[in-house]
Structures are given as structure tokens and as C-alpha cells.
Amino acid sequence: MNPENYLYLSAMLFTLGATGVMLRRNALVMFMCVELMLNAANLAFVTFARLHSQLDGQMVAFFTMVVAACEVVIGLAIIMTIFRARRSVSVDDANLLRG
């Protein structure tokens, strides 16, 4: 087996995550799909690090994890705020800026 299969798997996971963001309405599930996309990108980074026998790819994956953790914390806080105001987590209901 070639290690490039990891890249194919990563592409598939990324695609699934992107499709989920487009398909789902629940803000929490959309957020989870974003996490899935970040994880898929991480897998690609780790695979590239292995193919090149260098650790820089793993470093980038590490920083991605840190940024993802921050993003989750802020995003969930925003979802909580929206839920408190509108009593719903559906992204269709958050239309306050619509005229």
C-alpha cells in the first residue's frame, strides 16, 4: 500500500465535513462538521510529514489543533449566546440582520 491512501482518506473526510456544513441546519452539527474538516486536514499534514521524513508537517498539525481548540471555545460560546436570545440553535433562525 502506498501512504498516499491516507491522503485519499483525508480528502474523503474533508469532503464529508464540507457536505455536512452545507446540509445540516443545527449550528452544533455544522460546527462538528467543521471540526471534521480540520481533522482531515491534520491527517493530510501528518501524512505529508511522514512522506517527507520531516517534522514540520506535524508542527503545522499541532498548531491547527491549538487554533481548533480556541475556535471551539469561542464558537460554542457564540452558539450559547444565540440560543439564549432566540431559544433555537437552527442557523435559519439567526436572521437578525436580515431586513
Binding site: 464529508l16 446540509l23 452544533l28 450559547m80
Partner: protein, 295 residues
């Protein structure tokens, strides 16, 4: 993409890794499919945790020991638990609306996703084929690390030399995120907090109830706190169920006939079914349709 793949041509994995890849990879694919397709948000979260664990296995296999541990600790440990925590706060059974606001959005999104995936995979395949044809360069080295002796040492050397500035900026980012979360979730109190004196005076107003509320009927008839307690005359004390359970509609996701409903949830029940004397109130309560007080 071609330059990114340049190192891989003569690298092949062992048989055990191949077997592992096809097993865990299939698992990861179907778990991520479950994240997208699952009907309830909790199922999505659990599927996502499964996907992340599969990815952690991949990291371990690909000599990324540190990242694998971080993946398990940070993602499946902290991030997913945060997700589940928020889900419990918001309401587990908050159903997703199936009504489309944009017509044909679902089909269009699926088609766009499939097209995107085909493009991505075709790009990788094209780059690989190109490399194979021209006979790309061999792998740069044979070891998994270029700086230290092990993965963790190599990463530490990188973090504290080449990526030191980015690493320091990360700490600033984390602190900003923590402060931002506190600011976002802080709720401003609109009215003054009632003192204990005022609370106790309110308690003895004519319409109020001076004694504590009755406890729910746990173990009296059922093993769940969402069932009301029995009064001495056999009727239900509907004050005994917490008000919190009602507006979130935790109890009944499906609306069926009352007989089928009881049989469906009989595995939750410790003791026999409730007497039919006051069953209407319980049914109304389970449907979440207002306060149909029995008496």
C-alpha cells in the same frame, strides 16, 4: 501538490499497516458519514468522537506519537466533552427543522459535495500519476525525525527553536479565547437580586407555598425523576416534577397512541404501569401540551 508528494515514490508501508489502514480507514469513513447523516446531534457527536479516535490511531501508526496523544486528550477528551456539555445545556432533543428555506438546497449541497470530493481526489491522483511517470526523487531520509532521537524530542526541538515565535503567539491566542468566552457567556443581571428576607416574605404570601415542593416519584412507581409522586388519595402531585424538564420537552420525541407509547417505554419502568385513574394528566404532561392538571 506535485512537490508535496515528491518524497513518497519509494516509500511503501508494511503489510500490518495496510491491514490496519483498511480496517480503521473504513471505520473512520463510516463514522464521519454518521456525523453528517445522524438524526440527532448527540449521535453526531459520538460519531465524531469515533472518527477522531480513528485518526489518532493513524497518527500513532505514522510515527506521530505526540500528535496522537494530543488528539485523544484534546479532541476526544476536551473538545467533544465541551460539545456534549453545550448540547446538554441547549437540550438534547432539539430537533432539526426539515423544512428547506432555499428550494433544492439539499440536493445542490450534496451534488456540490460530491463534485468537490471528485475534484480533490482527482487532484491527488493526478499528482501521484505524474510523479510515477517521471520517476520522482526518492524519500529525503529514512528516519521519522530530522532533529531529535524520537518524535517527542524532535517536536520539542522544533517548537523551541524554529517555531518559538508562533508557539508564543499561540499562548496569546489561547488567553484571548478564554477571555472572549467569559465575556460572551456572561449574562447581565437586569434586576436586583432578591434578598433572603424578601424571598421568605414572598413565601408566606397567600398565593405562595411555604413548604418545600414534594420530591418526584422516584422508586415510588418508576425509576425516573420525570414521573410525578403519588398523593395519599392516589392522585398525582404535579408539583413534584421539576419545571425544567417540561419546556425542554425531554420526555417524548415521538407522538403515538398512548398504548403503544407505554409499551415502548416499558423497559424504563421499574414497577408496574400507573393506575388509569389519572392517566390523562400524565399523558398530557408527556406530550408536553401545557399544564393539564388532574383533579
Amino acid at each position: 501538490m506535485t512537490t508535496l508528494l515528491a518524497g513518497e515514490v519509494f516509500v511503501f508501508t508494511s503489510t500490518s499497516e495496510t491491514v490496519m489502514f483498511w480496517i480503521v480507514g473504513t471505520l473512520a469513513f463510516f463514522a464521519s458519514l454518521g456525523v453528517v447523516m445522524a438524526a440527532k446531534a448527540v449521535y453526531s457527536a459520538l460519531f465524531l468522537a469515533m472518527t477522531m479516535l480513528c485518526l489518532a490511531v493513524f497518527y500513532f501508526v505514522q510515527d506521530a506519537m505526540f500528535l496522537g496523544v494530543v488528539q485523544i486528550v484534546v479532541y476526544t477528551g476536551a473538545v467533544m466533552m465541551l460539545f456534549l456539555f453545550v448540547m446538554m445545556l441547549i437540550g438534547v432533543d432539539s430537533a432539526e427543522s426539515l423544512m428547506e428555506t432555499l428550494r433544492g438546497q439539499r440536493i445542490a449541497a450534496t451534488l456540490a459535495g460530491i463534485g468537490f470530493g471528485v475534484l480533490l481526489i482527482a487532484g491527488i491522483a493526478g499528482a501521484t500519476m505524474h510523479l510515477r511517470r517521471i520517476g520522482g526523487p526518492a524519500a529525503a531520509g529514512d528516519g521519522a525525525t530530522d532533529l531529535g532521537h524520537s518524535n517527542v524530542e524532535g517536536l520539542a526541538a522544533l517548537i523551541f527553536t524554529r517555531y518559538l515565535w508562533a508557539f508564543e503567539l499561540t499562548s496569546a491566542l489561547l488567553i484571548t479565547a478564554a477571555v472572549g468566552t467569559m465575556v460572551l457567556t456572561q449574562r447581565q443581571r437586569l434586576e436586583r437580586r432578591k434578598t433572603q428576607r424578601e424571598l421568605s416574605q414572598e413565601r408566606f404570601q397567600p398565593a405562595a407555598r411555604p413548604t418545600p415542593l414534594p420530591t418526584p416519584g422516584v422508586y415510588a412507581r418508576h425509576n425516573a425523576v420525570d414521573m410525578p409522586a403519588l398523593l395519599p388519595d392516589g392522585s398525582y402531585a404535579d408539583d413534584s416534577v421539576s419545571r425544567v424538564l417540561r419546556p425542554r420537552a425531554v420526555t417524548r420525541p415521538s407522538r403515538q397512541t398512548s398504548g403503544r407509547r407505554r409499551s415502548a417505554q416499558s423497559h424504563l419502568r421499574l414497577v408496574s404501569q400507573p393506575v388509569d385513574a389519572a392517566a390523562e394528566w400524565v399523558d398530557a404532561w408527556m406530550d408536553g401540551s401545557g399544564r393539564g392538571r388532574h383533579r
